[in-house]
């Protein structure tokens, strides 16, 4: 059974620490080139098709800006 995931990021609250990027096992997420209102590069799903909804990024996020969704297909 395949699993697909997706994340929702509160971009304005992200501080761009990048801790989530190194903990993503499927290299789904990356830091954006744009900055948010605070001047931080925020994280986003660079490869949405790779996300498995493993919640690793959300678990390590110090500011809890990530919400994870997962479906079985």
């Amino acid at each position: 059974m395949a699993v697909r995931g997706a994340i929702e990021v509160e971009t304005e609250l992200c501080k761009g620490c990048g801790v989530c990027v190194v903990s993503c096992p499927s290299e789904t997420i990356a830091m954006s080139k744009q900055v948010n209102g605070k001047g931080y590069n925020y994280m986003y799903m660079a490869h949405p098709e790779k996300c498995t909804g493993c919640v690793n990024c959300a678990v390590v996020c110090p500011d809890t800006v990530i919400t994870v969704y997962r479906v079985k297909i």
Binding site: R4, G5, A6, E8, L13, K15, G16, C17, G18, V19, V21, V22, S23, Y40, M45, P48, G53, V55, N56, A58, V59, V60, C61, P62, D63, T64, I66, T67, V68, Y69, R70, V71, I73
Partner: protein
């Protein structure tokens, strides 16, 4: 399948704990404090004890903890959180009482309080965040600073000849009979974070069963004080702090 088909309330598997308030944390990017706050909020939510918990916030970076987690809080004088926890626990023996302290608060100015609280075996949980530096005041040397580590007050690196050795608080307290659970955790990886959460749950259960003092040290990072990026700081912590402060249980007499 499109992302909009996945992002639906019924598919949600992880989100912000309801105990974490909407106020944006003042911590620097990548600070371990945020993750530890999250662990505490999730633990309290899972154990369903929001109404029965009283936290003691310290002086240090985590001084504003009461703004972030939706439970009862009391602010202590610098280093005196364990003494306050003792008082609150004796007045309300059925409440869950925990202190949240950094290394400047617990290992430096409050060394006396923590040792006597643990020696009395007061039934409280101590959460000790050890980042080997004084983060809030600008990166000065702390008692837990590693040998040779450069800080604002040890520009050539800490020398044991003039400043002594890094203080291993968890090992020191573990020899006291009043302490039933002494452990050292970190929050740098998802696996470590999950393990740390189990330790916090265990510590709160110790209180419920009136076992004695439970002590959790978090080896954490201070990317601003160490002058590194958050991910570099995590790597540096694993390479340099773990040999001195190895993660794992130091003492476990809980029996569960």
């Amino acid at each position: 399948m499109d992302i909009t088909d996945i992002i639906k309330p019924e598919n949600k598997v992880y989100g912000k704990s309801r105990l974490l308030l909407d106020k944006v944390m003042h911590f620097c990017p990548g600070c371990s404090h945020g993750t530890i706050h999250k662990i505490i909020a999730e633990t309290i939510d899972e154990l369903d004890i929001q109404e029965q918990v009283i936290g003691i916030s310290p002086v240090g970076c985590a001084v504003l903890a009461y703004d972030y987690i939706d439970i009862d809080w009391q602010e202590a004088a610098h280093g005196r959180a364990p003494a306050l926890a003792t008082a609150i626990k004796r007045l309300y023996p059925d409440k869950y009482v925990f202190t949240y302290q950094g290394d400047g608060d617990l290992a430096s100015i409050g060394t006396g309080e923590i040792i006597h609280t643990c020696n009395r075996g007061d039934n409280v949980t101590i959460i000790f965040v050890n980042n080997a530096i004084y983060g809030m005041t600008g990166g000065q040397m702390a008692p837990t600073t590693l040998e040779g580590m450069k800080t604002a007050t040890t520009p050539k690196g800490r020398s044991y000849i003039s400043s002594g050795f890094p203080m291993k608080i968890t090992e020191m307290l573990a020899i006291l009979p009043g302490v039933v659970y002494a452990t050292r955790q970190s929050v740098d990886t998802p696996a470590a974070e999950r393990k740390a959460k189990k330790a916090v749950i265990k510590a709160f259960k110790c209180q419920k069963l009136k076992k004695g003092t439970s002590f959790i040290e978090f080896v954490s990072t201070c990317s601003s004080g160490w002058k590194m990026t958050p991910t570099e700081a995590n790597t540096w912590m694993r390479e340099n702090m773990f040999p001195v402060f190895p993660p794992g249980d130091v003492k476990d007499e809980t029996g569960f």
